[in-house]
Symmetry: C2
Subunit: 147 residues, 2 copies
C-alpha cells in the first residue's frame, strides 16, 4: 500500500527539472544528485519516462532530457502509472473476469470507490504545483473528514 521508490524518484526528478527554465536539457547525473537518488537507477527510470513520451531524450555528449509536456499537465497519477503500472487496489477491480467471486464479490464496490477517490486525488496534483513552490492543499477539509 505505497508507491515505489522508483515513482518517488521519478516525481522528484521531474520536479527538479521543472524548476529549471523551460527547455533546459538535464542530465541524469545532476537529477540524481539533486534528488538523493542512485544515478543508475534514475537512469532507468528516465528511460521509462522517455518511452512513455513524457520527456524527450538526447543521446551522446550534451545529451539529456527535456520535457515533452507542460509540467502543469503532468499529474502525479500519470507518473505513478507510467512507473508502477496501472493503479488497481485489488484484483477484483481490474475487470469482471479477474474476480474469483463473480457476481457475488462482497468487496468489489468498496475497492472501486476507494480507487476512484485515490486516482482523483493523484490526478489533482501536477509537477508544476511542486516546482512553483506554490503548493497548497488540493484536498478540502470535507475530503479529509468524510464519514
Amino acid at each position: 500500500m505505497n508507491i515505489s521508490r522508483a515513482s518517488d524518484y521519478a516525481i522528484r526528478g521531474l520536479v527538479y527539472m521543472a524548476k529549471k527554465p523551460a527547455g533546459t536539457v538535464c542530465f541524469v547525473k545532476d537529477i540524481a544528485k539533486n534528488t538523493n537518488s542512485p544515478a543508475s537507477f534514475m537512469s532507468k527510470i528516465f528511460q521509462t519516462l522517455a518511452k512513455s513520451g513524457l520527456v524527450h531524450s538526447f543521446i551522446g555528449t550534451k545529451g539529456g532530457f527535456t520535457f515533452n509536456a507542460q509540467p502543469e499537465n503532468i499529474t502525479i497519477k500519470m507518473i505513478v502509472e507510467i512507473i508502477d503500472g496501472p493503479i488497481v487496489l485489488n484484483r477484483c477491480v481490474v475487470n469482471k473476469s479477474s474476480c474469483q467471486n463473480i457476481g457475488n464479490c462482497d468487496v468489489h464496490f468498496m475497492w472501486l470507490d476507494i480507487q476512484k477517490m485515490l486516482t482523483k486525488a493523484l490526478s489533482s496534483y501536477s509537477i508544476a504545483d511542486f516546482a512553483n513552490n506554490a503548493f497548497k492543499n488540493k484536498l478540502s477539509e470535507s475530503d479529509l473528514n468524510f464519514a
Copy 2:
C-alpha cells in the same frame, strides 16, 4: 499501489466468518474453500490475525477460529495493517528522519494528505458491512468528486 493477496484473503475470510452465527468456530479449510484461496496460505494469514488478537484460535481436533471482536468494530484498515503492515504511501511520510529531503521535501504534504484520506476511507468500512449484505457507499458524491 494495491493491497496484497493476503489482505484480500483475510478480508474475505473474516467476512465469511461474520456471516455465520456469532461464536461459530470456523476451520481454515472451510474458510479457504469458501473464499477461493489456498488453504495453507489462509492458515498462515489466520495465524497472523490470531497473533494480533483479532480472532481467537483453538488447536487440535474441533479447533478453529472465532472472533475476538465484534465484526462491526473490525475495520478494513485494521485488517490491512495487521497483514500488510502500516499504511504509509511514501517513505517521506513515515517520520522526519526517514525523509532524505529534510525541511525541503516538496511532496511530503501531498502524500500525508492523500494517506489521511485513504486511511479514513479504509476505516469507514467494517467486516459487518459486508457480512450483512447491507453494503452501501460510504463515500459521498463530494468525496468522489473533489477538485
